[in-house]
């Protein structure tokens, strides 16, 4: 999300200019949606969080102090929205229910991954088999560069929570890539 928004467009958008706001939307929306989808997994849910994130962006735009690029600021808003979703008691209860239903089976959202071309489809599928919290921890640690302490704070949990989530996710991803027979037994496509 390092696409730069010209200062002049940003200034007009802060004053409420709809054309400038539309330009910002066109520039930043794809990367924002990608980021949210990586964090929460499901496309429909990602679109809901995306909508909330963009609404929050325009609401708070006049308060943007330009200490960081607008894209980074928006990414932070999106991250907070995703964490709010992942931390909600309702969502945690749902995840527990789903994980108990799926114990020993394959994650159904494997099939919901849009068909990207090339080798990356394997990694997409592997990520889709992770639980939402584990996927978010992997993404925050591996891509966003958060430390275990920061992840623990973000989730309101302990550092060992972050470490164990990451270790289990690594083990799961390794199992996905290494023994082909496991993957074949789970492939429903």
């Amino acid at each position: 999300m390092d696409t730069a928004v010209p200062d002049e467009v940003l200034a007009r958008a802060c004053l409420g200019d709809e054309t400038a706001r539309e330009a910002i939307y066109r520039t930043l929306a794809p990367a924002t949606l990608t980021f949210i989808r990586r964090m929460v997994g499901q496309r429909a849910l990602a679109e809901d969080i995306f909508q909330d994130t963009m609404m929050a962006l325009y609401e708070r735009l006049p308060q943007f102090r330009r200490e960081a690029p607008l894209g980074a600021w928006l990414r932070q808003i999106a991250l907070n929205r995703c964490l709010m979703y992942l931390r909600s008691p309702w969502q945690r209860a749902r995840m527990r229910l789903e994980s108990s239903e799926l114990a020993g089976g394959c994650a159904p959202n494997m099939l919901a991954v849009p068909g990207y071309r090339g080798e990356s489809i394997d990694l997409e599928r592997a990520l889709a088999t992770l639980a939402p919290t584990a996927r978010a921890v992997v993404w925050m640690f591996e891509v966003e560069g958060y430390s275990h302490e920061e992840i623990a704070r973000a989730f309101g949990r302990s550092v060992s929570f972050s470490k164990s989530q990451l270790a289990r996710a690594h083990a799961r991803l390794r199992a996905w890539f290494e023994p082909q027979e496991i993957r074949q037994s789970c492939t429903l496509i």
């Binding site: 794809p30 990586r38 679109e47 990356s120 990694l123 640690f141 891509v143 991803l173 890539f177």
Partner: protein, 175 residues
Amino acid sequence: MHPDLAPRGPLGRLLRALPEEAQPPYDFHEFRRRAAAQMETAHSSRKGHLLATAASIAVLAVVLLLRLGLSPSPRIASGALTAPVVVTPAGSARPEVMERWLAGFPEDPALVRVGTRAAVTGLEDRIAQLDDLLSAARLERAQRARLDALQQERTRLLGALVQVRYAETLADAAQ
């Protein structure tokens, strides 16, 4: 693809290399439309929440007054509520007791509130309709179950009317 996933670097590089969305999920105009719809929903839900809270407080106050058996103010007591009415939850009182109680309320409240008046006339209309239905059912020698159902509904409405009128009278007395 058999990457070494253990260290932080390689997996991060692979994840960063995943393709991004090429387009937003919908265009800016659709975004604006959805945002407006969300704001509208949030606004009406807030309004509904406030109304529901106000109504709940009002009902709670009436129920508390009825439960505590607070006697009406001297003005009411000397005028309308002279009959020895036992204060019971209106729903469980006998219809004739409620009728007597209703008859004891002042005909015209000192201060007419549009909402309360509408509720009173609405309830009175529905009770009158039920009276017609009951008369017709008795003439047609309808089944006992139907007559009972109509009578129960009438009693329920009567109970609601008693509560509203009582609250109205108390409010007048407090002026």
